[in-house]
């Protein structure tokens, strides 16, 4: 077991270096001088440019910059600081992460709460009007650009009806509209997946057995079919949370939820490379660590894995 953990931990190292190097290079080869970007239309005073280059190693060749950056992470847990505000990226990340997790989590919950029942209902009425109209309407919703729909939500539910605050990230009520907006988009996938998984399950022998034994339709559905059919849906929802962590840029901006995507999106035009690299690197580290823990626990539970 110890050998497995050791081997698995070693695997992290090349992944970490390759991933961070790619991010670093992609961000810093973007055209546009990061120092000039801090000064807008004004020329950068020479003294200030020198001070910036000195502090952020911007005059070093890229591999040297990367080396300095990565050793800072490894030896000092220093993920760099923002060029624009000199704030440590670590602070920015840990302020942003809970908000993004809240938003992503709530969105996925809503997605599940709407998509799963719809999928089940559609599966039971396969090929009939309800099934087709569900398909149609979810696809219509999916095809509305998010910023149009979200802006409309704000106008209707905040400005006109006053049910929810327009924007902000302090209270959980702030997250309802944006999460709903995201869920409406992802619900199409969930309900389709639920529907097809349910239909497949209905064909299984154990469903026939259950029916043959005289189980009620409700029991067949909830106990026998649903519990098996829902597993791929849950896996897909889990993947969706991962995707939403970096991918809710538009929503976070419209609703002023300063999460991960928000920070990255703002840093790109500002050429605030250390924020982009740092936040992305911390996400990489988080994914790597989570994967490691999962795999180790998994190996603990299922002995076959460690002997592979």
């Amino acid at each position: 077991m110890a050998r497995y953990i050791f081997r698995r931990t070693l695997q992290i190292i090349p992944v970490f270096f390759i991933a961070t190097f790619l991010i670093f290079v992609v961000v810093w080869v973007l055209p546009g001088d990061p120092i000039q970007a801090q000064f807008g239309e004004r020329a950068v005073p020479e003294n200030t440019r020198a001070a910036y280059e000195d502090r952020y190693n911007l005059d070093d060749p890229l591999p040297v910059q990367y080396w300095k950056y990565i050793t800072g992470i490894i030896f000092r847990l220093d993920f760099g600081e923002s060029l624009r505000t000199q704030r440590p990226v670590k602070d920015i990340f840990f302020e942003a992460l809970p908000r993004t997790l809240r938003l992503a989590g709530l969105a996925v919950l809503m997605d599940a709460a709407m998509g799963i029942p719809l999928g089940i209902a559609a599966a039971r009425r396969r090929g009939r009007f309800f099934d087709n109209s569900t398909l149609f309407s979810t696809i219509v919703l999916l095809s509305i650009p998010p910023f149009v729909m979200l802006g409309l939500f704000q106008l209707i539910f905040s400005v006109t009806l006053g049910w929810f605050p327009v924007s902000g990230a302090d209270s959980w009520t702030n997250y309802i509209m944006p999460a709903f907006g995201i869920a409406v988009g992802t619900m199409a996938t969930t309900s389709r997946l639920m529907r097809s998984s349910m239909i497949d399950t209905f064909r299984e022998d154990y469903i026939k057995t259950a029916r043959a034994k005289g189980a009620s339709e409700g029991r067949v559905l909830s106990v026998h079919a649903l519990r098996n059919a829902i597993i791929p849906v849950i896996t897909s929802l889990g993947v969706a949370v991962g995707a939403l962590i970096g991918g809710t840029i538009v929503t976070e901006s419209i609703f002023q939820i300063p999460g991960i995507g928000f920070q990255i999106a703002r840093s790109i035009p500002a050429r605030d490379g250390f924020v982009i690299v740092g936040v992305s690197t911390m996400l990489v580290v988080a994914y790597l660590i989570i994967n490691l823990i999962v795999d180790v626990l998994y190996a603990l539970i299922d002995p076959r894995i460690r002997y592979d």
């Binding site: 302020e95 106008l155 327009v166 989570i290």
Partner: protein
């Protein structure tokens, strides 16, 4: 199948461990980790199989989402107002648990929408939103009066013999928000701090390039640690020596970078100033900055008990908040200016600000080295037509090299008028331009339309055959402008003044020695006129010299001035007496609530 579920649950567990370990520093000061991680479990719920992040493609811009704002009219009935106000104030008190005055909305708080500033600590305040906050937190030696002259602030009076050695007489009753006194030494500390390259102030140039304080540039360059030109004669007398005479020094001193600095380290998120308002808690990044009235202020601290700066990334969202009643004062997105004017009526304000847009010419390369070509290109543009057709009258056509509100501006430059016949005459006499004209601009800044219109005027009125456009994102665009090769055709840029004087629109952009002179314009006459101004007895005595400088420019047309800027604000029904400074900053201290 079961295995997948198991994997998912384990991942969830691992994630919650991760979040718990990270803690949550999101809300103001360290709240207890346990609370927050518990609530995060709810949020992080279904995170599963640790997938890589998706590359997302909805990075399309968030503008234009809510064009149909007419729906939003009739929104603000009072019940809406109340409920949303309550919400926001509840949030506030819940967040920064250091019990500010009362939980509910005490009515005497103004909420004001801004974009996230880069800095609010005086030594590095650089963007207009930072200025809005800093002007309440800090008082410098001087302040700008409504008539754009320098008014006393911490300095009661000042005198100079030669515009080079200035003596500022300070009040003795000014204290920082922490109670320590503000003395001449506090200003010297601020100067040394801002100029120190270790502190990386983006506005350090104010001390060297604008004010020209002796020894400042040496500190910036790392050759010294103390600005030699600033000397404390005693606690209430500060002597500032300049490298060259500068009649505008009292105005320049109103910039926040020259504000006094207390002893010791200052948290940039909770700066300690000496102004009429002081920080309440810390700056919650991307969320809010709350300031409360400073009761020990030496002057009249003014109206509202508290001012809440709410931070927005999207102006559209800010505007919606004002419509919904959740925000008292906010900006207007450009595409909604017309509808805002009708919807808000007298609660919509448009004001002229000290900024402008111009098309510069690379004056060192053919054919733009010929002043007649430059004049012709400028005369062929119908600026008023563009303003009416594209900007719906929300900008002013530029009639000179400095906006009329800048003291010393002369305007009325004949070469900025629309005269297609004269333009054609000059153009033909100068031999015209062979081949296409290439126009450089930054894309995504809303410039495409008017630049295209300019190109059409050139085609129509001058017979220019082809105009090519090079639109680049702002940052790479600036790289091109500053590169050795520079640009090969007209380029768009803008300027926002540092201090209210026409001189600030002239020296930085056109002095042959200035780093911002992208047209590489060189004129001995112009440089001499600026020297004359700087040698003048006071600002007003220098106006003729400034007029000379502008006349030289009008003859030479190194750039074609295009538009002067305006700003638009809207405010809600429960505030009144909303006034603005010429910088476009709201005089929040005089806003009345209720």
């Amino acid at each position: 199948m079961k295995a997948q579920l198991l994997r998912f649950l384990v991942a969830l567990f691992a994630l919650s461990l991760f979040v718990a370990a990270c803690g949550d520093s999101s809300d103001s000061s360290q709240s207890s980790d346990d609370d927050t991680s518990a609530s995060d479990d709810g949020g992080g719920d279904d995170d599963g199989s640790s997938d890589d992040d998706s590359s997302d493609d909805d990075s399309s811009d968030d503008d234009s989402s809510d064009d149909d704002s007419s729906d939003g009219d009739s929104s603000d009935d009072s019940s809406d107002d109340d409920s949303s106000d309550d919400d926001s104030s509840d949030d506030t008190s819940a967040d920064d648990g250091d019990g500010d005055d009362g939980g509910g909305s005490d009515g005497n708080e103004v909420s004001y929408g801004i974009v996230e500033p880069s800095w609010i600590d005086s030594f590095n305040v650089q963007d207009s939103e930072g200025f809005e906050v800093a002007r309440l937190l800090y008082d410098g030696l001087t302040a700008l009066a409504p008539d754009l002259s320098a008014a006393p602030a911490v300095a009661e009076s000042w005198e100079t013999e030669d515009n080079q050695v200035w003596t500022f007489n300070l009040r003795d009753d000014v204290t920082f928000h922490d109670g320590t006194p503000v003395t001449a030494e506090s200003f010297i500390r601020a100067f040394n701090f801002a100029a120190n390259p270790d502190n990386l102030s983006d506005v350090a140039y104010q001390g060297s390039a604008i004010a020209g304080i002796e020894g400042w540039a040496e500190v910036e360059g790392g050759e010294a640690t103390e600005v030699s030109g600033a000397v404390a004669i005693d606690d209430t007398t500060l002597e500032i020596t300049l490298a060259t005479p500068y009649p505008l020094l009292p105005k320049a001193m109103a910039h926040p970078v020259f504000s006094p600095r207390p002893e010791g380290d200052v948290d940039p998120d909770a700066p300690i100033g000496n102004g009429p308002y002081m920080m309440d808690g810390v700056w919650e990044h991307d969320t809010q900055i709350r300031v409360v009235r400073n009761d020990s202020y030496y002057g009249d601290a003014g109206g509202p008990d508290a001012i809440l700066f709410r931070i927005f990334d999207s102006i559209d969202t800010m505007y919606l908040e004002v419509q919904a009643g959740g925000l008292d004062v906010g900006d207007v997105p450009p595409e909604q200016i017309e509808s805002a004017a009708s919807e808000f009526g007298d609660r919509f304000i448009q004001l002229d600000i000290g900024s402008y847009n111009y098309l510069g010419f690379p004056t060192q390369i053919e054919p733009f080295d010929n002043p007649d070509i430059r004049r012709a290109l400028s005369l062929a543009i119908d600026r008023q037509g563009i303003v009416d057709a594209i900007f719906a009258g929300t900008r002013a056509p530029a009639n000179g090299f400095a906006p009329p509100l800048a003291p010393g501006a002369v305007g009325e430059c004949a070469n900025t008028e629309f005269d297609p016949d004269l333009a054609k005459e000059l153009y033909d006499a100068a031999g015209g331009i062979d081949g296409p004209i290439t126009v450089f601009f930054n894309s995504g800044g809303g410039h495409e339309e008017w630049i295209e219109a300019v190109a059409n005027f050139w085609k129509q009125n001058l017979g220019v055959e082809e105009v090519e456009f090079v639109g680049q994102e702002f940052s790479p665009y600036l790289d091109v402008l500053q590169s050795e090769e520079g640009v090969t055709g007209p380029y768009r840029l803008g300027w926002l003044w540092d201090l209210p004087s026409a001189e600030n629109f002239l020296s930085p952009l056109f002095l042959s020695t200035s780093g911002d002179n992208f047209s590489l314009y060189e004129s001995a006459d112009f440089d001499a006129a600026i020297d004359d101004f700087r040698a003048a007895e006071d600002e007003e005595a220098g106006f003729p010299a400034l007029a000379d400088a502008q006349n030289v420019l009008c003859e030479d047309m190194p750039v074609a001035p295009m538009f002067f800027g305006t700003a638009q604000k809207v405010f809600g029904e429960n505030v009144s007496n909303v006034n603005y400074t010429v910088f476009g900053y709201t005089e929040l201290e005089s806003v009345e609530v209720g």
